[in-house]
């Protein structure tokens, strides 16, 4: 047996002896930084506002409407003639009236009167 190739832990430095612990600490730091960046992107992109899986949205989670099935596909290829224009107009008018009918965010629920804090001085 060759004595020169024997591994001697005593010859290693402080961090050399604890390199596995160091690896774990560095991995946790890198993971924390990446999670921080991801959370910043999640909040700044507006994705957070669309995420109904957040706590507090349990009641409305199943009330989302998938409108994609309601929109019939209008082919982006093919000839343009009176028939294809009429077809598009019919599809567009149907969806436009449905979209406009919702009249979302109408009303003033945050009005002090509506909130019951309408006291006059």
């Amino acid at each position: 047996m060759d004595d020169d190739q024997t591994f001697e832990p005593e010859s290693l430095s402080f961090w050399g002896k604890r390199r596995f612990v160091l690896l774990i600490i560095l991995a946790i730091i890198v993971a924390s930084i990446l999670v921080g960046v991801a959370m910043m992107m999640y909040n700044s992109s507006g994705a957070a506002q669309l995420d109904l899986s957040r706590p507090g949205y349990v009641d409305v989670r199943d009330k989302t409407v998938d409108s994609s099935g309601d929109f019939k596909n209008y082919s982006s290829s093919g000839t343009i003639d009176q028939k294809s224009i009429d077809e598009f107009k019919a599809l567009y008018d149907e969806q436009a009236s449905k979209t406009k009918a919702a009249d979302a965010f109408k009303g003033d629920p945050l009005n002090p009167d509506a909130m019951g804090i309408n006291a006059t001085p």
Binding site: G46, Q49, L50, L52, G56, Y57, D59, V60, K63, T64, V65, D66, S67, S68, F71, N73, Y74, S75, S76, S77, G78, T79, I80, Q82, S84, I85, F88, K89, L91, Y92, D93, Q95, A96, K98, T99, K100, A102, D103, A104, F105, K106, D108, P109, L110, N111, P112, M115, G116, I117, N118, A119, T120, P121
Partner: protein, 178 residues
Amino acid sequence: MKKFNKISVICIALTVVLSGLVYLKVSAEANTKQISQIRNECSSLKNTLNQLHVSDALLRVNMGQRYELMSTKLMDRFNSRAASNNFKTDILDESSNKYKSMLDVFRSDYKAYEEKMVLAIKIDCQSEPSVFYDALVSARSSRAQVYRDVVTLSQQIDDYRAAVSQFEKAYQAVGEKG
């Protein structure tokens, strides 16, 4: 004398502007009765805000999807089909681009509104009723802006339809010439 007149005019203008700002500030603040109402109704107010926050989030998801589909499944496809048939699509492109820009404005305005609502919900209305009232006023004005965006989007949906009619007239004119 002229210099004196100039200074007088500047002073009067500054007084008018500053008094206007002070009036606006005072009129936006809660009075003592409102502060006491906020303290008394704190939990009920928080509950109302939470419910509105949740229902508006659902509305945002459903309406956002509809607005997106109007653009991707209808406008873009018709523009693309007209362009691939070598028709002039400037008026269609302009109208759909305006719609897309407005959709971006709607997204960012809703985000601003949602952040203000979260801020209002987080404020302790028992210990900071005035701050809560200010946050409420701010959220209210942001929500009104979101509604104005919705009205503009509806208008632009009509504008695109008018652009399609114009395109159709141009198509028919070419057909008659041919």
